[in-house]
């Protein structure tokens, strides 16, 4: 898994690529924690190049959602592939996460001040 992180105002967009499985999951988790520790109040996870993530990666996203929610922050998933959307539907996490196909719409959703 590769990560290209871009900070923007009081948040960050994480462009992820590759499968988030195996030993990529701790890297994924640490990348997010680093951003939260640095004070990010919102995060957008760009999943356009993520064909698969396992349940522990999903769990990391759930935990991230809760941490951001605790400080009135927002989390958005961007450009999720069908395989990811199917898993979100099966686990009903599509009712929890905000999922977008347009970066500008996602940015306005997580930070209305943008």
């Amino acid at each position: 898994m590769r990560v290209d992180a871009k900070s923007k105002d009081n948040g960050a967009v994480l462009h992820l690529s590759g499968k988030i499985i195996g030993d990529s999951v701790p890297q994924f988790k640490q990348t997010i924690e680093d951003r939260l520790d640095a004070g990010a109040e919102w995060l957008i996870l760009d999943l356009a190049e993520v064909p698969l993530m396992d349940s522990s990666a999903l769990g990391t996203i759930v935990a991230t959602f809760l941490k951001l929610q605790d400080k009135n922050g927002r989390l958005a998933l961007l450009n999720a592939q069908k395989s990811i959307l199917d898993v979100l539907a099966i686990t009903k996490l599509d009712s929890l996460f905000e999922v977008y196909n347009d970066m500008q719409v996602a940015l306005r959703a997580v930070n209305p001040e943008i």
Binding site: K19, I21, L52, D54, S55, S56, G59, I90, T91
Partner: protein, 147 residues
């Protein structure tokens, strides 16, 4: 040491150390098996994730990421179905003890979705637990099952 060998046409056996990095090798073998089965893309993705979940469970929960222990996989490629056996050396567990991740008390937990996904994505999932020699799970995906 990770090994891959084909015992006979239609079966692949894989044995990997219980370290997360070897999940990528498992991923490659699953992809190969799906191609041999000529699964469509959606079915191949379902099988891919389900077997990775089973393998990750074997490595992390069964074998506690002990590199001295192996997780073993047997892929049986038949005309109408793919059968995968995943075995660990752990003490065993009761799959019924794993909570429903859709229940309100579990929904927001960061873990506990692996077995649920396996059952949702495959046509058959069956556990056999031998407290003396570990846990084995059998997963089956039928071709053209429509799931």
């Amino acid at each position: 040491m990770a090994t891959e060998r084909t015992d006979h046409k239609g079966e692949i056996v894989l044995s990997i150390p219980s370290q997360d990095k070897y999940i990528y090798l498992l991923d490659l073998v699953v992809s190969y098996a799906s191609r041999e089965m000529d699964f469509d893309e959606e079915t191949a993705e379902q099988v891919n994730l389900a077997i990775i979940e089973a393998g990750t469970n074997a490595i992390r929960h069964g074998n506690k990421n002990d590199p001295e222990k192996t997780a073993q996989f047997r892929f049986q490629i038949a005309q109408d179905k793919l059968t995968v056996f995943v075995k660990d050396c752990g003490p065993g567990f009761n799959p019924e003890d794993v909570g429903d991740p859709l229940s309100p008390e579990n929904f927001m937990k960061p873990s506990g979705r692996g077995i649920f996904l396996m059952k949702a994505l495959m046509d058959e999932v069956e556990y056999r637990i031998d407290k003396g020699s570990g846990t084995e799970v059998r997963l089956v995906k039928y071709k053209d099952s429509g799931c």
